[in-house]
């Protein structure tokens, strides 16, 4: 499959560079370019691209408005190319809320210090976005099969899970910001346990994201700080660029924020956090894996599962990218496979 890409950017310089980079990947093909939101909408209607790369700041119509309109025309994954600054975070999160699927830095050096590597990553992301998106859209029958299967399997441990968990941990990646918002906004302020959030996101974005969730949710949401003790009714967002580990004993849980290994692909990494949880209070933990590319979280869920913790995974239809939840479901770890809204509803019932 060749992935058809539409490039949207008001700078002809950038359009050209992007097209050049994308052309280096034989799996990708640039079918059109647009210099503003309005043109982008026209091109989407005309060419039906598989992925749209979208700039934020453009004349005539900006990226966020364009994303919103594209969503109403044709379901197309949109990759925001934004500045990875605190300022950029706000508008990027706005774009995600408007319906953009994922985001990458406009300065490719932010992706990797190696230019070639950064370009490869960009292409890879575009490809995955298209295939992951198509997987979550098309394979409905296959999805049903796994769905019912795991649900049968889930029936059993459901009974043993009779007490409320002492900790909820949610791991997610692509599509996560919106998914987390959908889940957390349903929770009451009196939510009985602390929540750990691990969202793959750059360091410049997580503070804005935590702040944003905090204003939208009844529960308190904040970016986790080193040495912070966990309090019920509060969600702790793992800071970008670092690893968040759980420390202490049950009843006296606190967080350790560590730089982590340079080689780690994800910062923060769901697996690392989940592993640290498994060691301390695995049995009393409910781990949730939401939409995301790749398979981060599968090993962590396995550790928690071994300690008799509970695992929920988001279902295929509601996932933006059915990667991480699929990895968990395929490994047979999921106690429940739920629609995104259902996850929020059932979590709320815990209180």
């Amino acid at each position: 499959m060749t992935v058809k890409v539409l490039i949207v950017d008001d700078s002809s310089f950038f359009r050209k560079r992007l097209a050049e980079i994308i052309a280096t990947d034989p799996r990708l093909q640039v079918i059109a370019t647009a210099s503003n939101g309005e043109e982008a909408i026209r091109e989407v209607q005309r060419h039906h691209p598989d992925v749209v790369t979208m700039d934020l700041e453009m004349p005539v119509m900006d990226g966020i408005t364009a994303v919103r309109k594209i969503k109403t025309i044709r379901h197309t994954p949109v990759l925001m190319l934004s500045t990875w600054t605190t300022e950029g975070a706000k508008s990027t999160l706005d774009a995600l809320e408007a319906g953009a699927t994922d985001f990458l830095p406009k300065r490719f050096e932010d992706l990797s210090s190696d230019k070639i590597e950064a370009q490869r990553k960009l292409c890879q992301r575009i490809y995955q976005l298209a295939s992951g998106f198509q997987a979550s859209q098309s394979d409905i029958p296959a999805n049903r099969a796994t769905n019912s299967q795991t649900q049968v399997a889930a029936a059993k441990p459901e009974k043993s899970f009779n007490t409320t968990p002492e900790l909820v941990a949610i791991g997610t990646s692509t599509g996560g910001p919106v998914a987390l918002q959908k889940v957390l906004t349903q929770l009451p302020a009196s939510f009985p346990c602390p929540i750990l959030l691990i969202q793959h996101m750059p360091a410049t974005f997580t503070p804005s994201f935590a702040e944003r969730l905090n204003t939208q949710c009844a529960i308190r949401v904040k970016q986790a700080e080193n040495g912070e003790h966990l309090v019920p009714g509060t969600a702790y967002l793992a800071p970008g660029g670092e690893q968040m580990l759980l420390k202490g004993r049950p009843n006296n849980l606190y967080l350790s924020i560590e730089p982590g290994d340079v080689k780690e692909t994800y910062k923060p990494c769901v697996d690392l956090t989940f592993d640290s949880i498994a060691h301390i209070c695995g049995s009393k933990t409910l781990a949730v894996i939401l939409t995301g590319m790749g398979s981060d979280g599968r090993n962590g869920c396995e550790s928690i599962k071994k300690k008799a913790g509970k695992i929920w995974a988001q279902d295929q239809q509601s996932s933006t990218i059915y990667g991480m939840p699929m990895a968990v479901a395929k490994a047979g770890l999921a106690d429940k496979i739920l629609d995104i809204n259902e996850i929020g509803r059932q979590l709320a019932e815990l209180s």
Binding site: S11, S12, F13, F14, R15, R17, S35, P59, E109
Partner: protein, 673 residues
Amino acid sequence: MALDTDDEILQDFLVEAEEILEGLNEQLVELENSPQDADLLNSIFRGFHTIKGGAGFLSLEAMVNLCHKSEDLFNLLRQGERFVDADMMDTFLKVLDILNTMFAEIKSGQYPSPADAEVIESLSAYLNNDSAPASAPEPEPEVVEEVTPPPASTESSSADAPADDEITDDEFEALLDQLHGNSAPGIKDSEKAPKEPPAPAASASSSSNSDDITEEEFEALLDELQGAKKAEAEKPVPPPAAPKAAPSPSTDKAAEPKAPTPKPAEKAASEKVEAKAAPAKQAADTSVRVDTSRLDEIMNMVGELVLVRNRISTLESSFENEEMAKAVNNLRVVTGDLQTAVMKTRMQPIKKVFGRFPRVVRDIARSLKKDIDLELRGEETDLDKNLVEALADPLVHLVRNAVDHGVEMPDVREAAGKPRQGKVVLSAAQEGDHILLTIADDGAGMNPETLRRKAVEKGMMDEDTAARLTESECFSLIFSPGFSMKQEISDISGRGVGMDVVKTSISKLNGVIDIQSEVGVGTTLSIKVPLTLAIMPTLMVMLGEQIFAFPLVNVNEIFHLDLSKTNVVDGQQTIMVRNKALPLFYLSKWLTKGRTDGKKPEIEHVVIVNVGTQRVGFVVDVLLGQEEVVIKPLGALLQGTHGFAGATITGDGRIALILDFPELMKVHANRGY
């Protein structure tokens, strides 16, 4: 490490960024007039943003840093968290200058050197100080009308503003400009202002809405500010600048009519820019970069082709073959199309030159303390790249002149019953195969009497000659070398060298310059130049056995003349054309050899030619007709021959010299035109 200037990526960047930079130049000046125009702020923000993005891609760190800071600041501006003031404007313009320097460095293959730390610092200061100034301007507009002392809190909050201890000249000027700018004529309600010196901030801002404050009073206020509350030195600036003060409903009628007027123009202008930017960008995608020398080469070859076509169509007329005629006709059409197409590749919008004027006018107006509105028209008019470049300097000069000499000081204007704000209109339009450029001001105009007197004083002519000059001849005097209109010489213009040079450069482009002026109403200068320099429509004439080409743009009219009806005035043979005496010359006397004056026919052909601002009649032997010719420079052998713009090959394969009238007149008639 040096940059690879041949790198296509770098070239792409330069092309795009330069376009943006030109836009910024204009937009920033526009911003000064409408500091809260959201579209404008957005578009400036995007400009810096895009340059930053490209520079980042190429790791031009110095540029990234500068653009980044500016972008951040504009982000605050567009979100309404800060407001533009004159000081900030100056910083932006400095940023622009630095960016331009950086571009020059990049173009010459060097990494740009880091920006002036001072500028970066002042940008950072604006960025970090967002809380204090943001809160200060809000309460200020309220106290604008009631001249009550401002609450103590305002003063203390403004104390942490970024303040120098001294008010610099620039700042003072900025304040003055603000006052002039925001005040509308004819409002008389703030005699109180000077009576309330204990509340300097309040009175300063209240007087910003009035007209009656004199400069002395203002200076007194300033002194007070400086002495008592140094930290507040900059504070009075933001309130008048914060444009909320002007259109706010509490403001009285005087301010109201002023606010809406600039708006539509601004809007229209920015819309035009936007609309224009979109197609241009799209075109850039499919564009190929071609060296101008290659275009010149192509143009040259097309020129040759035109000559061959001319040749063939001349030959064809001697055959009476219909097929042949058809083929030749086809050739004619195709060559014509090709010629137009190639010419178009060399076309550039005059915007390239016009774009710099808002800044030029702003700077001069500021240094002269004048208030001037510059209007640009027909910026999309296309003309040959070489012409665009060649016109830049003369136009700058003329616009400077209009601002410096043309438009009067605001007080003078007011006394003459004109609006305080002067207007300069710069326009371009295509008229057939030439471009008409006009620079019009609504200033004092020129008095022919003054010019006459001046000419006599300078010993350029005696009184009788001066008295005989027509009005337009008087105006043309300003193009004479060493003739300055202004009594005292300013450093902006008025040295009298300029206009002379302007005229020469326009003449070199085969252009014609014309002045119209009315005392008290204004002056309009119009320049006519051909669309392109490479191919020229000419009038072919014969002198004896030789063919000469008159640039058609110079040719005014042609008629048969009974040579017995000429008069001699001042030793110069003249003819009367519609009650106007024009000097008459026999071109063959100048350009051909071995002609006896004896056997002159009674009726001769006379071509009236525009030379500079004058009209002159030339007697020629035979009129051949109009022909488009390609100008070939004269070879090295003919170096130093004056009076010829070049040569060309005519349809019948002969060589024709193309006349350069201004030169010709200088050499043969001892007259400067």
